[in-house]
């Protein structure tokens, strides 16, 4: 076991606030072996087992990047060279014999392409496991790419994940992130809006229970003119779960007429849960519009009362309210089986 410090914010603030990074004091280095439980739905033959070294501008830290580049037990490349009609779905299942997963996925989307890529991480309930994943996306001009990362791991597995993307002219990207699993769930997301009029939407939902520690560090940098970022995060915490949300919109010089918006809402479902947020706006270009908002509170009493007057128990009513807050992200995934899978998990985890 050792101490590790990871997931640094792009700009530091006082260390007394405990949000510049996350420290894990009982980090156990995994023994990496073969991982077999993987199912890929790829009807248009875009996925191959090809290894490419990845460079991350941010990421979780050198340890996780080096591990992924040197020791990954699953390497996938997704080459998108047309407008795909069917989704690509990659599903990893961690169990007793496949309890350590180090995977990297390289997405290369050419100009004028379209794709819907869904990556799901699941596990059986009772294992202690380890996951370190990286998803890297190079997105050409005028592409329309939707990437969904669904983390439904149990609450004993440590989950470390990095997303890195570069987005060229007039491309539209949507990243949907479902952050439910992990004893430690530490996620770094970075998008570089390099191209003129490129768009990046990041829609994320998180759910923490028991003693989960969630550390989400979402960073977007706007370089191109008329670029647009929209970060929408909605979460709920119960039991003794703790969450750090760190969201950064960084308007770089030259990003004229760019727009950036970031909202985070955290619903606290217990008095022992704990929410920290650091929504940053960084700006070196005057001709932009940036805004952020965060809010934290319990379930609204009036909403709860209204639903309960219809004969629904308090617990079910709270579930309904949380599901309603998650609804727009879940509905945006556009794959009914995946939507149902997520909704079932919300029910199960809020029971």
């Amino acid at each position: 076991m050792k101490n590790i410090v990871l997931n640094e914010t792009p700009v530091r603030t006082s260390k007394n606030y405990g949000i510049n990074n996350i420290e894990i004091k009982d980090f156990e280095e995994p023994v990496i072996k073969e991982f077999k439980n993987i199912k890929i739905t790829d009807n248009e033959n875009c996925v191959s087992s090809e290894k490419e070294n990845i460079n991350l501008k941010f990421g979780l830290g050198d340890y996780f990047l080096n591990q992924s580049n040197c020791q990954a037990n699953v390497n996938l490349k997704i080459n998108v060279d047309k407008k795909l009609k069917e989704p690509i779905i990659i599903e990893y299942n961690l169990d007793q014999s496949n309890d350590v997963l180090v995977d990297n996925i390289n997405i290369n989307a050419n100009d004028n392409t379209k794709a819907n890529i869904i990556v799901i991480y699941k596990s059986v309930d009772e294992i202690n496991g380890y996951h370190n994943g990286i998803c890297n996306a190079e997105i050409g001009a005028n592409a329309n790419i939707h990437v969904t990362i669904v983390n439904l791991l149990n609450t004993k597995i440590n989950n470390f994940y990095s997303v890195n993307s570069n987005i060229e002219d007039e491309s539209k990207t949507l990243f949907s992130m479902v952050e439910f699993g992990g004893k430690y769930n530490v996620v770094n997301y970075y998008a570089k809006l390099a191209g003129y009029k490129s768009v990046n939407k990041l829609h994320s939902i998180y759910l923490g229970k028991e003693e989960q520690r969630i550390d989400l560090n979402y960073i977007t940098e706007l370089y191109g003119e008329k670029t647009n970022v929209d970060i929408e995060v909605n979460g709920a915490l119960k039991d003794k779960a703790k969450k750090n949300f760190k969201g950064t919109i960084d308007f770089k010089t030259g990003s004229k007429k760019a727009k950036g918006k970031e909202n985070e809402y955290c619903t606290l479902l217990s008095d022992t849960s704990y929410s920290k947020a650091l929504p940053m706006l960084l700006c070196t270009e005057d001709d932009v519009e940036g805004e952020h908002s965060t809010a934290t509170g319990k379930v609204d009493d009036n909403e709860l009362f209204y639903i309960m007057t219809r004969g629904i128990s308090e617990k079910e009513a709270k579930k309904m309210i949380v599901k309603a807050k998650f609804n727009s992200v879940i509905q945006g995934i556009k794959e009914a089986t995946v939507q149902n899978l997520i909704l079932e998990e919300v029910d199960r985890r809020l029971d």
């Binding site: 010089t253 706006l281 700006c283 519009e289 940036g290 908002s293 934290t296 319990k298």
Partner: protein
């Protein structure tokens, strides 16, 4: 019309009152640097009681142990070996302006302090370099038991109350510069408002640093007892020198049960000043602290007034504006800790950056598990006047109970082209339109300032914009 108005603005500032430099005359100036011997010498010069001497030396030990902050503006230019931490002016404290040496009096005259005292203040303290040179308070307040004096007098005449409160609100272990302050502090004001006394007219302390390559380390300690109220105004300025000057003040405020304190600050230090000030209030049941802050000067500022809401139903309001121009890095904001039920805080911050200036809003809003039914609302807006400048918003919320309503909103952007066009279509020049819009942006803050400071702020906006156009 436009031309004549422009001339008026230039004239207003051609006499730049803040930049008056007097000859660097003093009765004692410490050696540059920070050593045990220097601290002991300062203590001896000030004729400290033994407990204060020991306190200083312990603070120095803490200073030597602590690291510089790993965040915020770059402080590499600050070299403590080049700073004299104590400069005793060539006069002791007077209670009549006529007795203050002429050049020092002229400086405060130019700053408008004696005039403001006559017109709108209940008491005035004026510090020049490291010591207070003038102090006064209206007789009727003295009769009601209000104490307003310099800190040295307070240490001597009210030792028990000072010992009980001095650096208890802001402990020396808080950060490196607080420890430095604890070791070399001098000057500052002490205020005690007895139970139930309402001080309707503000008290004001003005801090002036004249000596080059020196620091000012004044300590302000205010106790507003149960049910009492006070408005305290703090102003500060210095002439500009080529080398770095340092301001490391410390403000400790104790707001007792159902008491009310408004603490207004207009900071207009010269642009060679490192302003690393610490301010904190502890608020008891039903009490209220209001911070009104305007930060315009200094080369680097790190200033985050903090309120600790320890009593049920206590409140904080923060209203602040900063204006970062060429060569300035103003890292400002606030901290609030909700530590009791039904507490509330409202935070409104605005910042303007131009001509390469860096304006950063940085905050912490913490709600402890005991603070059930707390409410916090935070709003911050940043205006960038060009793309050479930089504007960052770095707020942290830390919520540890579900029984809370917390919201934070921030916006960043430039002056809207449509607004300028609208005003110009009414015959207003572009410069005037911009100044008008910026004044409108700042208005929610300036209306909370004492009138003379609001006028000063508007003049400052005119001046700054004047330089930025054409």
């Amino acid at each position: 019309m436009s031309e004549s108005k422009k001339k008026t603005q230039i004239k207003d500032f051609s006499t730049n009152i803040y930049d008056i430099k007097n000859k660097d005359e003093y009765s004692y100036k410490s050696k540059k640097g920070i050593t045990k011997e220097i601290v002991e010498e300062i203590s001896e010069q000030k004729n400290d009681p033994a407990w204060m001497r020991d306190f200083r030396l312990k603070a120095l030990e803490t200073y030597n142990k602590l690291e510089l902050p790993t965040w915020g503006p770059n402080l590499d230019e600050l070299n403590m070996d080049e700073i004299a931490t104590y400069v005793r002016p060539k006069t002791d404290m007077k209670s009549s302006w006529d007795d203050v040496p002429e050049d020092i009096k002229n400086t405060f005259d130019a700053l408008g302090i004696p005039e403001a005292e006559k017109e709108s203040l209940a008491g005035v303290g004026a510090q020049y370099d490291s010591e207070v040179v003038y102090h006064s308070i209206k007789e009727d307040l003295v009769k009601q038991g209000v104490i307003y004096t310099d800190m040295e007098t307070a240490v001597r005449d009210y030792p028990d109350i000072v010992k009980e409160h001095f650096m208890k609100c802001v402990p020396v272990s808080d950060h490196k510069f607080v420890a430095l302050h604890g070791a070399v502090w001098s000057g500052g004001s002490f205020v005690y408002v007895p139970k139930g006394v309402q001080v309707d007219i503000p008290l004001q302390s003005y801090f002036r640093l004249n000596s080059p390559e020196s620091g000012q380390f004044e300590h302000t300690l205010i106790i507003v007892d149960e049910g009492a109220s006070l408005h305290f105004i703090e102003g500060c300025s210095a002439p500009k020198y080529n080398k770095v000057n340092l301001h490391v003040g410390c403000v400790e405020l104790f707001v007792k049960k159902n008491a009310h304190l408004r603490y207004s600050t207009i900071e207009n230090w010269s642009k060679n000043m490192m302003n690393l000030n610490t301010k904190r209030a502890i608020v008891e049941e039903g009490g209220k602290i209001e911070w009104v802050t305007g930060s315009f000067g200094s080369k680097v500022s790190m200033l985050y007034p903090m309120a600790v809401l320890n009593g049920a139903n206590s409140k904080m309001e923060y209203t602040g504006i900063s204006f970062a121009g060429h060569g300035q890095n103003l890292d400002t904001g606030l901290k609030v800790v909700h530590n009791a039920p039904n507490t509330s805080s409202v935070i409104n911050s605005k910042s303007i950056s131009k001509d390469g200036g860096i304006a950063t809003f940085r905050s912490l809003e913490r709600v402890m598990p005991s603070a059930k039914n707390s409410k916090l609302s935070v709003s911050c807006e940043s205006l960038m006047l060009d793309n050479k400048s930089k504007s960052d918003t770095i707020p942290v919320s830390d919520i540890r109970t579900e029984e809370v309503e917390f919201s934070h909103e921030a916006k960043i952007g430039k002056i809207s082209d449509e607004e300028i066009f609208y005003l110009m279509s009414r015959g207003i020049s572009e410069e005037e339109a911009k100044a008008m819009i910026v004044r409108g942006f700042a208005y929610p803050i300036s209306k909370e300032l004492p009138l003379e400071y609001a006028v000063e702020m508007n003049n400052l906006i005119n001046l700054e914009l004047e330089g930025s156009i054409g």
